[in-house]
Symmetry: C2
Subunit: 356 residues, 2 copies
């Protein structure tokens, strides 16, 4: 077989794991007031980010987060070979208008809120495969642009059930570098993308757009299960199994489903959506959601934990509910998808040993 890097049915283990050499996070005020506030690079009080529309605000966030990631990586846009990005808005307009000025060859991706996993996965393949030295993977979501597109204009003041989540206003961007490019740098501790586990479209027939966690939990369970099977490991293999935005209800479903498959992941499981707000105090009901939720949690909080070697190995699984107002209004269910990425922290001492 040619596919030597393919492991089991759904996973890849990279022979030359790409390294995250820069991560940028831009968050809104509400996200800044949540538990991870101190980990974000920028917290912006103006929800319009100085622009005239919610969509442009989101584009500006993407531009900012990419700029921060590039600055931390010490790179100019022209040194980046590919940009892999997407967002929740129709035709990915937050991305198109946000990153246009960088003039970086671009792969647009759509996986609903699983986008950060998909862009990191494809970006890592481009680097590991020898197609690029540097790739930027990024995504965003904005509370107001998402509500406008998927539910009701904010001015309606619609009531939100307890199962509803709050779309995170935020954008996260990472710069991936080839292992060769990494040695030209001075860092002593860093985070590698060592593999991926790619999801399928799952559909358990859920039709409640105010309970997205239930739509996504089966997709997440499918990726966790296949990751364990492909790698021949169990929950203990990871310090944390991180999902994107299941929220309190979806999280419960995932843990129960995994128990049904014979795995107890309760101790390792961490859901960005459940954790990103003080749900009770901030009235965010079941938690946060949106592409930006897992993206800024990764670029802020998770990267910090890993750089400090507090979390050594993380299975990062952004989760997406493929909600379409068109198919939804036609009576269809809301399918889910999830994209898993395996992250490993390499300490300063280990770096020196590897550098040899």
């Amino acid at each position: 077989m040619n596919n030597k890097k393919a492991v089991g049915k759904r996973s890849i283990l990279f022979s030359r794991p790409p390294v995250i050499i820069g991560a940028g996070s831009v968050a809104g005020e509400k996200e800044g007031q949540g538990p991870f506030g101190k980990y974000f690079d920028i917290i912006e009080k103006d929800p319009l980010f100085g622009s005239g529309t919610w969509e442009e605000a989101e584009s500006r966030m993407q531009h900012m987060s990419a700029q921060i990631a590039l600055r931390k990586a010490g790179l100019e846009p022209k040194e980046v070979r590919y940009l892999v990005a997407g967002d929740l808005l129709g035709q990915l307009i937050a991305t198109s208008f946000g990153i246009m000025n960088f003039n970086i060859p671009m792969f647009g991706v759509y996986g609903a809120c699983s986008t950060m996993g998909e862009s990191l996965g494809i970006g890592s393949i481009l680097v590991d495969g020898g197609y690029a030295d540097y790739v930027v993977a990024l995504t965003s979501s904005h509370f107001a642009s998402a509500e406008k597109q998927f539910r009701y204009p904010l001015a309606y003041g619609s009531q939100r059930p307890y199962s509803a989540t709050w779309t995170v206003t935020g954008s996260g961007a990472v710069v991936l570098a080839s292992s060769e490019a990494r040695w030209r740098r001075k860092e002593t501790g860093y985070v590698e993308v060592v593999g991926t586990t790619t999801g399928i479209i799952t559909d358990y027939g859920i039709k409640d757009s105010m309970n997205m966690g239930a739509c996504m939990a089966p997709a997440a369970a499918d990726v966790v299960l296949n990751n364990f099977k492909d790698l021949g490991v169990g929950p203990d293999y990871y310090d944390r199994i991180v999902t994107g935005d299941l929220g309190t209800i979806g999280q419960r479903i995932l843990i129960d489903m995994m128990k049904g498959y014979g795995y107890d992941i309760e101790q390792q499981h961490f859901d960005c959506g459940t954790q990103i707000y003080y749900n009770k105090e901030q009235n965010t009901n079941a938690g946060g959601s949106g592409c930006g939720c897992s993206a800024i949690t990764l670029c802020g909080y998770i990267m910090d934990k890993m750089r400090k070697n507090e979390w050594k190995r993380v299975l990062f699984i952004p989760t997406g509910a493929l909600l379409s107002t068109v198919s939804f209004n036609e009576g269809n269910s809301i399918p889910g998808i999830a994209h898993g990425v395996i992250l490993e922290a390499v300490s300063g001492r280990e770096t020196e040993e590897k550098r040899g």
Copy 2:
């Protein structure tokens, strides 16, 4: 540098070029009545494809084209490691619902009508890089679902200016195989994907949603120019330089722009959109458009020409106009993107020589 397969600023030349071992095309009645009618696998007279909605019709087309491609390749869905696909509809619902039952790990992509180039490009990278033996790349568009989403409901009977194009009802799917997997097969002539040239987002400020060719021509010109520069070649290198859906006006702009860069591509240039209908007789004004336009032209007509060795080397560049009704109504321009893929026909005699 690690990126040995990277050529110039934007291109890749594969060291183990993936092979197209199956291609399926499904078209609507109008497309069947056009010049390429006899090359399509299925021409369906019912625009709803037996379903109840335009969106579901499009999903059924994707399912059919993938099935045909898999059957021609002699593969079961479970043997396919990745599916790379997308469409024009919000949240890629034609794809999600169309391919769900295959249970193939999936990367959702969005590049407007450039999707077939993007999915072929990423799919080829997955195969060449050793991550998969078999990948399916596919896309679709449907006249009625696209008009409904982007312009006016059909029942309005809106007038169409001469610069407008007609969204193709069709879906095209290809199965890519690794060069190793290829030798297990009996074919003696085939088509290889030998490389890619990836586009950037271009924006010349065009704001006319009824003149998409003008939005896309600069994106196409950018890819053609960079392909020539990266490979150190000129128009003569190719038997055909195929664009997706510029239509008669966009085609003229592309040829003029290329003249401005010092290249005369008039003899080699072939635009699927300009060619897919008898524009005068079929009232399609500037031609065909949509993801399906280049996809079914590739899977039907172009594959036929290449398998017969009439066209030996083709630069295939699906073109996309990132039209969003939201950003458009907010006064924004319509940016464009294009994704180039280099195709080469290998004859029976050459196959025997390669097999050795």
